[in-house]
């Protein structure tokens, strides 16, 4: 997988972002959603890289040549889930119609005070999971995130709900995973997204939509070292105010033979990639990696 997502500038000015936030908070979800059309059009006209990436992905996921309407729907879905983060952070949970699939997986973990890894991706919304876990089930979810990524929007959302911003464990520090280990041993559910890579990541090759690309070994290495259960999750946006949240147990324990660690980690990561492909086919417009996902501009060591 490429790290070209990092080269992409965060789009949208701070002024426009503030304006949209103000409108959202004052006029409510229904009215603000009308803004999604001009916003979609704006991004459709001004972002050629993302447009190309959208076409590339949709061609694979839809199994046909995508037309401009598909790309518009793709961008619109993305914008809609970002806007919904505002209302989720405002803790307006009744604004949403959420359909849970196997919530007992996480509810049981939380009840028993067992920590686990919640492994997601940039397919759909993470916020719907984090907010609903807190609001509906009082389940503490922490999230691993790069603090510098999408700084402006993260900052704006942090002011909406500082308590939620505090659930972030910053990635990229030497002690990051020691912290994760402490959180998990105290029974926290720690969320992370396994589909993007960083320059310093150890990578492994996987087949994804029939083509080779590389994924980070990080989540599976971490799970194997901590001997923590791994639950996959997908918060898929279904239009209107509807979301589907899926949970799936990937492994009670990610077992790795130390002598064959690289091979075993590859196999576990491939399972993750296969499930991601499965859900991405179910909800192609929820794919929020708007860069060439298969471009190998990194060497796998």
């Amino acid at each position: 997988m490429s790290v070209s997502w990092k080269k992409q500038r965060e789009r949208g000015s701070t002024g426009a972002l503030r304006l949209i936030l103000w409108i959202a908070l004052n006029l409510g979800r229904r009215s603000t959603r009308l803004l999604l059309y001009p916003i979609t059009l704006y991004f459709l006209l001004t972002t050629s890289t993302q447009r190309k990436a959208s076409r590339q992905f949709l061609a694979l996921a839809l199994d046909r040549k995508p037309h401009l309407g598909d790309v518009a729907r793709h961008f619109h879905t993305f914008a809609a889930t970002i806007l919904d983060r505002v209302f989720l952070l405002e803790e307006d949970k009744d604004a949403f119609d959420v359909n849970y699939h196997h919530p007992e997986l996480v509810v049981e973990m939380a009840k028993q005070g067992r920590g686990c890894i919640l492994l997601g991706s940039h397919l759909g919304s993470f916020e719907i999971l984090r907010s609903m876990a807190k609001l509906e089930h009082q389940i503490p979810v922490k999230i691993l995130m790069y603090p510098k990524q999408n700084e402006r929007i993260t900052q704006a959302f942090a002011t909406l709900n500082p308590a939620m911003a505090n659930t972030v464990i910053p990635l990229g520090r030497t002690d990051t995973l020691i912290r994760v280990s402490e959180e998990i041993s105290q029974g926290a559910l720690v969320g992370m997204l396994g589909d993007r890579t960083e320059e310093q990541d150890k990578l492994t090759h996987c087949t994804f939509f029939g083509q080779q690309t590389s994924f980070s070994q990080g989540p599976m290495l971490l799970a194997s070292v901590l001997k923590a259960p791994v639950i996959l999750f997908y918060g898929l946006y279904r239009g209107g105010n509807r979301y589907d949240i899926y949970f799936e147990l990937l492994a009670e324990q990610v077992t790795v033979d130390r002598k064959q660690r690289a091979r075993d980690i590859q196999q576990w990561t491939q399972r993750y990639a296969a499930r991601l492909e499965h859900y991405a086919r179910m909800a192609p417009y929820n794919w929020f990696n708007f860069y060439d996902f298969w471009n190998e501009d990194d060497t796998v060591s």
């Binding site: 990229g172 030497t174 002690d175 020691i178 994760v180 280990s181 310093q200 070292v225």
Partner: protein, 103 residues
């Protein structure tokens, strides 16, 4: 020989010889065993070279495994809240000093 018997200036001089003390050698072995770095021998590791990034090139996963190894071998629980954690992990010399002070 133990650090406790050395005055600070002596200790500094001693470490500057860039040879591994018995305690450092033990830490170097722990690192090699824990992280499966069989291609390295403890003597090859410069006790003052950084462990992470540019030095031995260890990452956050390695730091976690190392902290679990230290807990197992010395009964010392490294905490992420510890403000000095970057300093403790900065070199074998520093890590060894920390272990000796806390075991």
């Amino acid at each position: 020989m133990s650090f406790n018997h050395l005055k600070y200036t002596d200790l500094e001089e001693y470490l500057n010889m860039a040879e591994l003390s018995p305690e450092e050698l033990e830490v170097a072995k722990l690192i090699i065993d824990t992280l499966n770095l069989e291609d390295l021998t403890p003597e090859e590791i410069d006790p003052h070279a950084p462990l992470f990034r540019d030095g031995l090139g260890l990452d956050s996963i390695d730091a976690l495994e190392l902290s679990l190894g230290i807990k197992q071998q010395y009964g010392i629980q490294l905490k992420a809240d510890d403000a000095n954690i970057a300093n403790i992990f900065s070199s074998i010399a520093k890590l060894s000093q920390y272990i000796q002070a806390n075991r």
